[in-house]
Subunit: 337 residues, 2 copies
Amino acid sequence: MTIKDVARLAGVSVSTVSRVLNKHPDVSPLIREKVLEVVKEHHFIPNSTARNLVRPRRDAVGIICLGRSNPFYPPIISQIEEMLNKAGYSMCLRFITLEEDELTYAAELERAERLQGIVFLGGRSDYTVAETAALTVPYVCCSFTNYFGDVPRERYSSVTMDDVACMHDVVGYLYERGHREIGLLLPSFPNRSISELRYRGYCGALKKLELPMREENVLFCSSFREEDGYQAVKKACQKGLNCTALVAASDMLGVAAIRAMHEEGVRVPDDCSLISIDGLNITRYTLPAITTLVQPQKTMGEESVRLLLDMIINKSDGQHLIVTPTIRQGESVQRLN
Amino acid sequence: MTIKDVARLAGVSVSTVSRVLNKHPDVSPLIREKVLEVVKEHHFIPNSTARNLVRPRRDAVGIICLGRSNPFYPPIISQIEEMLNKAGYSMCLRFITLEEDELTYAAELERAERLQGIVFLGGRSDYTVAETAALTVPYVCCSFTNYFGDVPRERYSSVTMDDVACMHDVVGYLYERGHREIGLLLPSFPNRSISELRYRGYCGALKKLELPMREENVLFCSSFREEDGYQAVKKACQKGLNCTALVAASDMLGVAAIRAMHEEGVRVPDDCSLISIDGLNITRYTLPAITTLVQPQKTMGEESVRLLLDMIINKSDGQHLIVTPTIRQGESVQRLN
DNA sequence: TTGAAAGCGCTAACAT
DNA sequence: ATGTTAGCGCTTTCAA
């Protein structure tokens, strides 16, 4: 069933059918009726592949999301979709794993789908100019930056919180409440990643507050998965945990940490406080509710789209937006002073 | 940059370029080299839109997932993707909201992307023959069935647990442990849905065990969202909860229920036990760890693909697979006997 | 082994 | 208001 068949069945030409389908005004009501009738009766649906081919480019942007199961992204994606639709654009969403390279993937997607721009949700922090050359449309990094890369700042946009400064926030929050021995749970960073930034922030914060930096207080796990966080904390507890508070690099790691400590007889927050990063909704419901640094997901989605469309439509330079996280108080941090 | 440009740059014809790109054997090594070089140098990537247009049909199937934020689906999706890739098919994944109609959406997607089949992840249970007429390729319902519909069973496949029987499992599990006053927390069902089946199962189980069915023990919430479950349980607690155990229709509702009870001074499992359905990973880490009816997500993904490909490739009739859930013991159910 | 040319289904000039 | 037709970028006969 093609537009040709519809034309034949309705006794008109293909262009008339095309006009009806695309809601062009200059079609007589009678003919429009007839065409629509045939369309309905035969469940005709235009082949958008052909449609896209013939159009110079689609009003669509690609979203490349790192990790299907990360609960941090869905709310951002929903917001992005809403903003794009409002602007008359559609969203082409793909998930990739840590093994795939988001830049290569983006380049292919961009060509294949004739996209006008890309939003990266998560990614490496060390893009080189050579690598990004394959990308011929504007892009924006959402929830990470190109901190270690060499791509000129005007060439792309980003929306992220300051991953170094945010560690000052959480460490400071604990400090104000009397904590002096503050641990850190985060994935190790063989590749330059967000973990490395947060680690730097942690070290910087301790130094600034003149707190001791102890190696045994930094708990490295092999990924952001709960199981890995659980194991790392469990092991640390068995060796003997020497801190009064722990910072978890993500909420899910925080959940896992609480369980591990619980099993080892360390009560949160009585024996050890915990604060984590992300602001997932679930942290409101856990026992104890987790005190967390909330990333403004809605804003991040919104602003990513705004910056991207600005680059696409107005050909403007890339901009770099630092969003402000806020600490949402739960029940996992105890006041010591 | 099109195949034409590559041809010009390499000093060959477009068909030769096409052959190289598609790894046809009959191209001289020298020319192949040259073409590949041009491709690399100019970052040429074939336009798959055009590619798909010219090909009779793609080796791809669509996955239509109801709800972006439901953590139950991602593991299933990953499994589906893996199985499809193994079979040489690619996956075309779309998320829709509760407002959209999955059948209409599927029909459009099928045509637009020239798909060979559809997997529905979640959906209504009352498809009519007329509604499904727009779909011209095989489909499989994963994690739900067409219980209330009138589509002949051989016309589609499904992979699901028995939503009625599973309630017998969980209610029976509580019964064996001495519980006699068993409540239920689930979304209300204005439309025919999985909730209705589970409600029926609950009622049936109570009857079979000769337990009293009390209206005030059925806590209806307006959706599967945590907040709604939380409110429903909170309200019920304030009125006075008269059961020794609660069944939550999903793990996330279970998490919310525990929090609501906790705030109202009802301890889980000491004052009230809780069992939920899904088997999400997070239930292993919550305090208390939640006893849950684990749906075999991996199997469900795998079998969905198997049945679908069987229909596509072998033109076989639809099959209906009932998968067996298992109860994973947590810390949320107390033994009373 | 290579090239010329006919479509895939659709849209958008251009013509009537 | 409606029809004719030239592509969009690619694959695939068919000829050479």
